[in-house]
Symmetry: C3
Subunit: 159 residues, 3 copies
Amino acid sequence: MSDKLAVQQVLAHYVRAHDRRDGATMAALFTPQARVTIFYNNPPHGEPELLGELVGREAIAQATAHMMKPHPARGWSHNATDGLIVDIDGDRATVDAQFMVFTVLGDAKPASGWPAGAAGAMGTITPIESGYYTQKLVRVEGQWLIESLRVRHNLPMAF
Amino acid sequence: MSDKLAVQQVLAHYVRAHDRRDGATMAALFTPQARVTIFYNNPPHGEPELLGELVGREAIAQATAHMMKPHPARGWSHNATDGLIVDIDGDRATVDAQFMVFTVLGDAKPASGWPAGAAGAMGTITPIESGYYTQKLVRVEGQWLIESLRVRHNLPMAF
Amino acid sequence: MSDKLAVQQVLAHYVRAHDRRDGATMAALFTPQARVTIFYNNPPHGEPELLGELVGREAIAQATAHMMKPHPARGWSHNATDGLIVDIDGDRATVDAQFMVFTVLGDAKPASGWPAGAAGAMGTITPIESGYYTQKLVRVEGQWLIESLRVRHNLPMAF
């Protein structure tokens, strides 16, 4: 696999681990001492405001599994990324991506079945987050790992 | 063109054929005996539930042209894919992608023109589907074709 | 960097300049005499309707900075692209992409702080545009520049 493909696909695994709330898989994408910093971007002209920081795989795993809201019954999330800018220099790389998170909530199927005339997907999808990921990656024993991740949200966050 | 680019672009042609309800173009992306299986993913922890299966180009063409709702006047759909994971091994490849489908419905322009002060796009865009595509591809006489496609929906589907 | 990566990333810079309303950065992605044509796609079966045309970097810079609505306080936009079809032939290339634009509007934080129980992103994200970009690029002194851009909107536009 080309370096470019390998580097891009770290992000593809990241979003799946995010949506599964899978802390162990997420942590394994990072170096042991990786740092995640989370900002509110305060558009259009403000200074980014630091909201939080995570250091190390254990903290990243915990935040993935427990800091995000658990999915309700028939609920899921979809973390979509676009507009990747990839820069590779030997064993180091930067990936800058735009992201959006959607919540997905299925309707409960009535005991009598879907109503007459119902067709297609039953439920709602709502965009809830938009922002930018900046990943710095390093190749360790042939595998690309995230050394730092900067998340900049375009919406303010309440905790 | 690199294999990786060629393999990825099958998906880019797939989504355009989907949005145009173009059965002939869609069928030509698949091998003659291709199989499409459609599941409800039943998040977060359920077993995927088989909703339907299509075998062969004729069935795929018919489903593309007639099984999906036709677009109304001023209506369209936008099938967006993200987070591709591509694996190529000789003449075989797998592409795993996240997808979302949006319906796009334009407003009717009043005979007197758009209202004073109206600016920008006039209409509504609604996310209706979210899920995962897993394509197995095979290279036949230099062209990458889809041999199997597994669609997993994150929302339940009524028929 | 591979040609393919370089060509794709022009689009990644385009969407960021779009969302920042950054006319100078946007204009620098184009050749001096570049042409942008904007159409309403009139789905599903109509003829594309020409809505407007821009010629040259100065016109492109002005349109980027002033023709699009300025962002309000706590407002931003997210121009997401997907489904790229890339074709490179020597020093010329074509990139066809699907796009969607979302408006992002943050809630004002109350003086007393977010309400008890509030969690996550505070604000709304609304999809407002969907369509297709077709870029023709040319390599000039090692740099890929957009020579023409055709924008086809899936929704009618009011001005």
